[in-house]
Amino acid sequence: MTLSQSSLNSDCSKILKTKAFPKIMQAPSLTHLQQLEAESIHIFREVVAECQKPVMLYSIGKDSSVLLHLAHKAFYPSPLPFPLMHVDTTWKFREMIEFRTKMVNEHQLDLIVYTNPAGLEQGINPFIHGSALHTEIMKTDALKQALNKYQFDAAFGGARRDEEASRAKERILSFRTTTHRWDPKNQRPELWNIFNTRVRPGESMRAFPLSNWTELDVWQYIFQEKIPIVPLYLAKDRPVVERDGMLLMVDDDRFPLKEGETPQTRSVRFRTLGCYPLTGAIESTASTLSEVIQEMLVARTSERQGRLIDRDEVGSMEKKKQEGYF
C-alpha cells in the first residue's frame, strides 16, 4: 500500500508505519462467494475430522441444497462421510418430498427420514393444534429424539446469521447440552478459524457452515453453481387461500377449507419452504432463477416473514432455539 493510494487527503489519513513491500505480483483476490464457499468447506472438514458421528440435517430447502453442494465439494472425490437426516413432519409440500427422492437417487445419498412416532400417533395437525404445538412436537421434539436415537455428536444445519436477530449472535459451532439446549449467555468464544469441537458423551454440536451467508449470497451461489432447487421457489399458478394475511397453498386434501373459502389460482412462489400449512406464498411472476434474484433485490420484506412460527410472540425464535429448535 502506498501513501497516494490509501490517503485521499493527507489531512485525515496518516501512515504510521509503512512497510515498503515491493509488489511482486498482484494476487487475484477471491470473490466474496469464493471466500464464503472456502469457509464453509473448512467448517465441514473440521467437524468431520474431529467429531465421532456427524450428521447433516437436510430440510430440502434452498439452504439445504447449497449445504449439500458444499459438502460434496468439501470431501471430493470421497463420498460424503456422514448421513443426511430429514425430520419429516408429514406436512411438507408434496413437491419437496419428490425433490428429496430425486436427490437421494441422483447422489446416492444415505438419508435417514425421522418422524416423531408419538406425534404421528396423536395425529398432530397444524390446522387443528396450531403452529406452536405442531412445531414443538413434530420438529423440536422429533429432532431431539432423532439425535438421541442415533447418538450423533454433531449436526450440520443450514441456518444463517442474517435470518433472524438471535441467530446473529450464535456461533458457527454451537454447543448443546445433553438435553439439546442452547445457552446464549454461555457460548464458547470462537476465534480465527480455530474451532473447539470437544464435547462430552451426550453433549453435541450444531455446526452452521452457512453462518456468514446472506439470502442474496445463497441465491447468487445457486445461480452461479447451477444448484438444483425445489420448483416451489419459482413462480407458477398454484391453488391458494388467503388467511390471516398469508397466502396458503392448498397442497393436498388435508387442507380444511373454511366456510366461504375457495382456492384461487394465483401466480405465486415461496421464499422459504417448510410445512405447507405454515408457509406463506408471495405473489410473483418470477418463474426463472434470475427473475427471482431480481425480485429479491427489490424485495422489501424479509425472508422469515413467510413463516408463521416466528411471529407467535416477540423473541419467539430465541425461545425456540433455547429449547432445541434448530
Binding site: K14, L16, Q26, S78, N196, T214, F223, Q224, A299
Partner: protein, 635 residues
C-alpha cells in the same frame, strides 16, 4: 450515489456477473458504551437498503417500546439481537451483521465496549481486517479507546478508522476533530498500525457515513463507506510464504491420497516443493484437486486438496509449507494470551492447545507478567483472571509448527481448552519460539518399562486415592499396600503429607500451588510406573483436571482412580488432625471442603462409601477389583 443497490438492474445477467466480482471485507466496530457502535451499524444497514419492511415495522415498534431516542427510530435496536439485551439497552456479545454494496460484501462484528467483555472484542477482532474505533466527540479519547486499540493491535489488525462520532453535538467543530485526531495518533504510534484514517461522523444523522456531510466542508477525507469499499487488505497475506494446515486426509481409494485444507497464506502451484515440517520430508505438489476440476494455482483462503509426488507420512495437524521458507517447529514458545474464562489461569495445569488443526496438551510454564490494557504497563502476577492479558511461556507435550503471529495471523494463533469442561478458556498469539526447546532432547534408554516390570513379574500401575481430608485415604492406601506387599508385589506409597515435607516443601495451599503439588506427584508416580512399580498415591487432589492430567501421563489401563467418598460431616466429625476445627476457626485458609472446592470424580474406577465401609472392607473391595481387572494375579 456510491455503494447503494437501489436501482433495479434491467439486465439481470450482466448485473449478476458484476456481483460475482465482489470482494469481502470483515471489520469490527469497537468503542465505549454509548459511543454509538450499534447505531453506526444500524445506519450502514439502513443506508445500504438492507432493512426490510417487516424489520422496519418491528424496529418502529421496538423503538417506541424500549428505544433510547425518545420514540424516534433507534438504529441500535436493529443490531442488539437477543431479547434480554434489547431490554437492557446494551450489546453484550459479538453479533455479526452483513451488508453489501456494489463493490464489496461486508461482515461486521459488533463488539461491546464494557470492560468485562474484552473476550468478545478479541473474538470479533480475530477474523477482522479492519477496525472502526469509535469515540464520542464530546468525550474524546478515553481509557476504553486505548484498551480497544491495544486489543485491535494485539489481534493483528493494521487498518484502523477512528470514527469521531456525535459531531452533531459539538456543532461539527473542526477544532474538536483535530484535537481528538492528534491525541489518538500520538497514542497509536505505540501500536502496530499500518494506517489510521480519522473521520468526523454522526451515526444518528448519517453524516460522512455513506454521504459526505454538508456540515463538515472543512473535511476532505473519505466517508466511512468510501474507505471501507476501497481499502486494500488482500495483498499482505498472499505474498507470505505458502502454509496449509492439513485438516483431513482424503482417501477415497488406495490410488488417491490427498491432503485437504484451507490455504492459510501464500499460493501453491503444481511443481512447488513443499515440506512437512514435523518430519522435515519434502515433496512436490503434483495436483491441486477440487470438485470443480484441477487448478493451475490456488490462493490464500481457498479450500483445496493437494496431491504429492512422494508417499510421505502426513496426517491431520501437519502444517504443509513452502520448502524454501519453513515455519518454526518447537515445543516451547512465548505467547500473549487473553484469559476468557471465569476460573483463573493455573500455571502448571495441563490444558489443551489448539493451533491450526492440531490439538496437544500444553501448560503455561511461566507467567512473565500481565498487561494493564488501559496503560500498557507490565504488572507482576501469578495468575490471570477473566479478560486479563498476559505474556507467558508455554510448553507443549509435542513440538508444533507455527509462525510468529505478527508474521502470520493464521499460523501464529491458538486457543486453550479446559481438559475437563471442554470450555475455550483463552486465546493466544505466539510471539516467538523459545530456543531452549531445541537443546533438551530425550535421552533414549535401552531398558524399558516392560523389561523392568517383567523382571519384577508384575504389571505396574497407579492406584490414585482421592477424597476429602479425613476421608480415610491414607488408612486404606496403607492397608492396600500391606496386602499387596504380602502378595509379593513391589509397591510404593506416595502420601500427601509426607511429600509435602520434602519434594513439595516449597508449596502452599492456593489453587496454583495445589495444581503444582499434584503435577509433581503425578510425574513422580509416572517415573515409578516406568520403573515397574505399583504406585499408591494418597492425595486429596481436589481438582478433576489434575487427576485427569495424572491419568494421561501413563498408558491406558495403568491408572485407577479410587474415590474415598466420605461425606464432609463425617470427615469433620472425625477430624483426626484437628484441621477442620482450625479451618472453621479461620486459622487455616484454603481448606478443601471448607473454603476451597473439592470436585467429585464422575467416573472413578473404584468408589468406596467411606461412611459405611470399614477400612478392611474397603481394602478387600480394592484388591478384588485389581484381581478382576487382571492387574494382580487372582489369589
Amino acid at each position: 450515489m456510491p455503494g447503494t443497490s437501489n436501482t433495479i438492474p434491467q439486465d439481470i445477467a450482466a448485473y449478476l456477473k458484476t456481483q460475482e466480482e465482489k470482494t469481502l471485507l470483515r471489520f469490527i466496530t469497537c468503542g465505549s458504551v454509548d459511543d454509538g457502535k450499534s447505531t453506526l451499524i444500524g445506519r450502514l444497514l439502513w443506508d445500504s437498503k438492507l432493512i426490510f419492511e417487516d424489520q422496519l415495522a418491528t424496529l418502529q415498534a421496538d423503538s417506541k417500546r424500549v428505544g433510547t431516542q425518545g420514540g424516534d427510530i433507534d438504529y441500535a435496536l436493529l443490531v442488539d439481537g437477543l431479547q434480554a439485551e434489547r431490554e437492557q439497552g446494551i450489546t453484550i456479545d459479538v453479533a455479526y451483521r452483513f451488508f453489501s454494496t456494489d463493490k464489496r460484501k461486508f461482515i461486521v462484528a459488533d463488539t461491546p465496549g464494557h470492560e468485562q467483555y474484552t473476550r468478545n472484542m478479541a473474538t470479533g477482532a480475530s477474523t477482522a481486517s479492519l477496525a472502526i474505533v469509535m469515540v464520542d466527540a464530546r468525550k474524546g479519547v478515553l481509557t476504553q479507546t486505548m484498551r480497544h486499540s491495544y486489543l485491535v493491535s494485539l489481534l493483528g489488525i493494521t487498518h484502523v478508522i477512528l470514527a469521531i462520532n456525535k459531531m452533531d453535538l459539538v456543532e461539527y467543530s473542526q477544532a474538536t476533530y483535530s484535537t481528538i485526531k492528534t491525541s489518538y495518533e500520538q497514542f497509536a504510534t505505540n501500536l502496530n498500525f499500518q494506517e489510521v484514517v480519522c473521520i468526523p461522523v454522526s451515526a444518528l444523522r448519517g453524516d460522512n457515513i455513506f454521504h459526505r456531510s454538508p456540515h463538515t466542508d472543512w473535511f476532505h477525507g473519505p466517508t466511512i463507506m468510501g474507505h471501507l469499499e476501497t481499502v486494500d487488505i488482500q495483498s499482505d497475506v498472499s505474498q507470505k510464504p505458502f502454509r496449509m494446515p492439513v485438516q483431513w486426509v482424503n482417501r477415497p481409494n488406495l490410488d488417491f491420497r490427498g491432503f485437504s485444507g484451507t490455504i492459510a497464506s501464500g499460493q501453491v502451484r503444481p511443481g512447488d516443493i513443499i515440506v512437512a515440517p514435523s518430519s522435515g520430508k519434502t515433496s512436490q505438489v503434483t495436483r491441486i484437486v477440487t470438485y470443480d476440476g484441477d487448478l493451475d494455482s490456488a490462493e490464500t483462503g481457498q479450500s483445496v486438496t493437494l496431491l504429492l509426488q512422494d508417499e510421505i507420512d502426513i496426517s491431520r495437524g501437519e502444517l504443509l509449507s513452502a520448502a524454501q521458507a519453513r515455519p518454526t517447529t518447537a515445543d516451547q514458545f512465548e505467547a500473549t494470551i487473553i484469559w476468557m474464562h471465569d476460573g483463573p489461569l493455573l500455571p502448571g495445569r495441563k490444558y489443551l492447545l489448539k493451533a491450526g488443526t492440531r490439538t496437544i496438551p500444553a501448560q503455561i510454564s511461566e507467567l512473565k507478567y500481565k498487561v494493564n490494557v488501559n496503560t500498557l504497563e507490565h504488572l507482576a502476577s501469578k495468575t490471570l483472571k477473566l479478560n486479563e492479558v498476559g505474556i507467558c511461556n508455554i510448553s507443549l507435550d509435542h513440538p508444533i509448527s507455527f509462525d510468529p503471529y505478527r508474521d502470520n495471523r493464521q499460523t501464529g494463533a491458538f486457543i486453550l481448552i479446559d481438559h475437563y469442561t471442554n470450555a475455550t478458556i483463552a486465546a493466544g498469539v505466539i510471539d516467538f519460539a523459545l530456543r531452549r526447546a531445541d537443546n533438551i532432547h530425550w535421552q533414549s534408554v535401552e531398558i524399558h518399562k516392560d523389561a523392568r516390570a517383567t523382571l519384577k513379574g508384575q504389571k505396574p500401575f497407579i492406584l490414585w486415592f482421592t477424597g476429602l481430608s479425613g476421608a480415610g485415604k491414607s488408612t486404606v492406601a496403607n492397608m492396600v499396600e500391606k496386602k499387596l506387599h504380602s502378595l509379593g508385589r513391589h509397591t510404593y506409597l506416595l502420601d500427601g503429607d509426607n511429600v509435602r515435607h520434602g519434594l513439595n516443601r516449597d508449596l502452599g495451599f492456593t489453587d496454583v500451588d495445589r495444581v503444582e503439588n499434584i503435577r509433581r506427584v503425578a510425574e513422580t508416580a509416572k517415573l515409578m510406573v516406568d520403573a515397574g512399580l505399583i504406585v499408591l498415591v494418597s492425595f486429596i487432589s481436589p481438582f478433576r483436571s489434575e487427576r485427569e492430567m495424572a491419568r494421561m501421563l501413563v498408558d491406558e489401563g495403568e491408572f485407577l482412580e479410587v474415590f474415598i467418598d466420605t461425606p464432609l460431616e463425617i470427615c469433620e466429625l472425625r477430624d483426626v488432625k484437628g484441621l477442620y476445627k482450625k479451618a472453621r476457626a479461620g486459622q487455616l485458609k484454603n481448606f478443601t471442603g471448607i473454603d476451597s472446592p473439592y470436585e467429585r470424580p464422575d467416573d472413578a474406577e473404584i468408589t468406596i462409601e467411606g461412611a459405611t465401609q470399614t477400612a478392611e472392607q474397603a481394602t478387600l473391595t480394592i484388591v478384588k477389583a485389581l484381581e478382576t481387572q487382571g492387574l494382580i494375579p487372582s489369589s
